[in-house]
């Protein structure tokens, strides 16, 4: 129905009708769609008006130019065209539903089920979301063995990175009968770009406390500690408040729910050494000693904190526990892959549109995470790699984007799940430099106890520096691979065993970039400044002047319709021009 009241006719509704008739004819839709001219619709302000029945869809302010698109979308494909729709000024139709926004649509919230919904500093709001009812269920109706069995059946694996089956760890913890025993929550999150634990502790601290109390009951322990980085003041503050509130309600302390079970939780702020995220180093640090890993066995479940049996799990692992006990193991195991059940929280950062904290079912592909949830690469750049697993992890190239995130398939790709840092990198990222960055990190954070990690990583770093300066030789690549292999095999702890991964994975997937640095003395991504000439390529320069605007040291001469020229005397090699240039015209 095309309105042909005076108002709409004055706005061009007759031309609109003609165009509609022609378009419907062209598409062969004349028999299905009847075109009717109506009298004044009454809403002249928004004319020309077209109403489509039977749905009664109301289009406003249409022009003849809009017609081809409208006909194709609405009449051919059956999709009402949002942008022409009329909406009441205060109506909500224009604001999409959460479930229709890709960022939220593909997420499944379990560990983060209370995010954004409750006040973390008010225990009542946690209780209103079924908080502490799992603890009550466990204490009033389940034996410790049944709790362990339930966790085992759920298939929950440690979310700190290594993926050790949680139920099995608890079973071990229960088996040893030297008292006292301890429960530790590992919140020493140190991977660059990772902030999962912090967000969970800030948003929902009681979920972690409840998970720890359940673990205490299952493993016959009465004392828990949360080891959390001192750099997370808000998390510590909210944990403190949460513990106080839980105590005042008798949900921590003596005789919880009148069941006779006692459980206390203390907080220990860690000083921020990366190695203290390793379980044995963490326990030494908690004892007040220097944080250095020791050789296992004995495992911590046999001799951990102060030599006593200790069960240590990650923040996210504990946050998953209450809902497993409340909803049952089969509920938990209904999601995920055969070897990895449930969901995983990731801190999605780097060169994506939507930076944030996400939780997805195990088995979600990297492509879905980067392009659907992350919204793709920002600044119209190209995807190059995704770094998963932090300094222990790997950089995965485009052809591995369909890898499913679970513990086993990431292992197969030479990466690891890690605690959940996901850094997306674009085409302005040099993979040799990235390997250098993570190796530098590992060298800084190595505790120095064992030779392969302390010396080996330093040697790797020196070689990488040489390659980046353009002084590498082709033998260096094999040397790096060999060194990496030995360091992996002979280091004491998990950190050393995985520290060469960033180098090994970039050689495996981006060998050509190493070769470009070594053979052509060229950095393809224009990152390594020693290999950049800082010259404008006249053929590529579009004379737009963006480089001049970006230059902080006035080293670029440019005027309208002239090619830019860089004065190397003034150039401070900061790469601002390279980042500003959209045409790769600076070499």
């Amino acid at each position: 129905m095309v309105c042909a009241g005076t108002g709409c006719v004055a706005c061009g509704s007759l031309q609109l009708r003609e165009r509609l008739a022609a378009e419907l004819e062209k598409r062969g839709l004349c028999d299905e769609v009847q075109l009717v001219i109506t009298g004044c619709n009454g809403f002249c302000a928004e004319g020309p008006i077209v109403v489509v029945y039977p749905e009664g869809i109301f289009y406003k302010k249409l022009t003849p130019e809009d017609v081809p698109f409208l006909v194709e979308e609405h009449f051919l494909k059956g999709r009402p065209v949002e942008k022409f729709l009329y909406t009441v000024p205060s109506a909500k139709e224009k604001v999409p539903l959460m479930k229709d926004i890709p960022f939220f649509q593909h997420q499944v919230l379990r560990a983060l089920r209370n995010r954004g919904l409750i006040d973390a500093e008010n225990i009542n709001e946690y209780i209103a979301r079924d908080g502490y009812s799992a603890l009550h269920k466990v204490l009033s109706s389940m034996k410790p063995e049944e709790v362990i069995e339930e966790v085992k059946l759920s298939g929950l694996r440690g979310r700190g990175g290594a993926g050790f089956p949680t139920g099995k760890k608890w079973e071990e913890g229960r088996r040893y009968t030297s008292f006292p025993k301890y429960v530790i929550c590992n919140g020493d999150e140190g991977d660059p770009g990772a902030f999962m634990d912090r967000s969970v502790l800030e948003a929902d601290p009681h979920a972690v406390l409840e998970g720890m109390a359940i673990c205490g009951y299952a493993t016959d322990s009465h004392q828990g500690y949360v080891y959390v980085r001192a750099e997370y003041p808000l998390a510590i503050q909210r944990l403190n408040i949460a513990i106080e509130q839980a105590k005042s309600y008798g949900l921590l302390g003596k005789d919880i729910f009148g069941s006779g079970f006692d459980f206390e939780i203390g907080i220990y702020p860690g000083a921020g050494a990366f190695v203290c995220g390793e379980s044995t180093a963490l326990m030494y640090s908690l004892e007040g000693k220097r944080g250095m890993p020791r050789i296992k066995p004995p495992r911590s479940t046999e001799a951990g904190l102060w030599g006593q049996p200790t069960v240590l799990n990650n923040v996210e692992t504990f946050a998953n526990v209450p809902s497993i006990l409340l909803n049952g193991s089969s509920w938990f195991a209904s999601m995920g892959t055969s070897g990895s059940k449930g969901t995983k929280v990731f801190a999605l950062t780097g060169a994506v549109q939507n930076v944030g904290l996400i939780e997805v079912p195990m088995g979600t592909t990297l492509r879905k995470i980067v392009f659907d949830i992350g919204g793709g690469i920002s600044d119209k750049r190209e995807y190059k790699a995704v770094q998963i697993g932090g300094p222990s992890g790997a950089c995965l190239p485009a052809f591995l984007l369909d890898t499913e995130v679970d513990f086993d398939s990431l292992d197969d790709a030479g990466a690891m799940m890690g605690s959940g840092g996901l850094v997306v990198m674009n085409d302005l990222t040099c993979m040799v430099d990235t390997a250098r960055f993570f190796t530098d990190f590992s060298v800084d954070e190595s505790c120095g106890k064992c030779v392969p990690c302390r010396i080996g990583m330093k040697v790797m770093l020196n070689i990488l520096h040489r390659i980046i300066r353009g002084e590498g030789t082709i033998e260096d690549i094999d040397h790096l691979k060999q060194l990496g292999k030995h360091i992996k095999e002979s280091s004491h702890c998990g950190l050393g065993k995985s520290a060469p991964n960033p180098v090994l994975s970039t050689i495996r997937y981006f060998r050509e970039e190493y070769e470009a640095h070594i053979i052509d003395k060229r950095c393809p991504s224009l990152v390594c400044v020693d290999l950049i000439k800082f010259q404008v390529v006249p053929e590529k320069c579009k004379m737009c002047g963006l480089c001049k605007k970006a230059c902080p040291s006035e080293a670029i001469a440019w005027e309208k319709k002239t090619t830019a020229v860089i004065d190397l005397e003034k150039c401070i090699r900061c790469r601002s021009c390279i980042q500003a240039c959209k045409f790769w015209a600076i070499e």
Binding site: M98, R115, G116, S199, L234
Partner: protein, 127 residues
Amino acid sequence: MTKLTIEDLKRIKEEVRSSTLLREGGFRAKITIHMGTCGIAAGARKLMSAVLKEIEERKTQDVMVTTSGCAGLCSREPMATVEIQGKPPVKYCDLNEEKIKEIFLHHAIQGEIVEAYALARGSETTY
């Protein structure tokens, strides 16, 4: 305080449900400011002060203000959620003091969603 029993848990749950779900709490609207580290770094505390100041100046009685953790989309912080009794909550992103005042006036007081700043309505699915 005395030890809680399961009955107490249920009672608290009901009490909080009714007050936060705005049915019987005497509130018509609820504003949640997302105050994780990311939100605070982006300026969530200023939003909080701005809202509290508006409430004080207007002597508003029926709008509840509360805080919560990170809403997940850290790059669009500061964020806030406004919920009017009986309607799905609406999330706003990339806020500042001016915007939150506008939202307070139009959405919390007058009930009209400020489309320009709104990200989404409804809740996330939890399992």
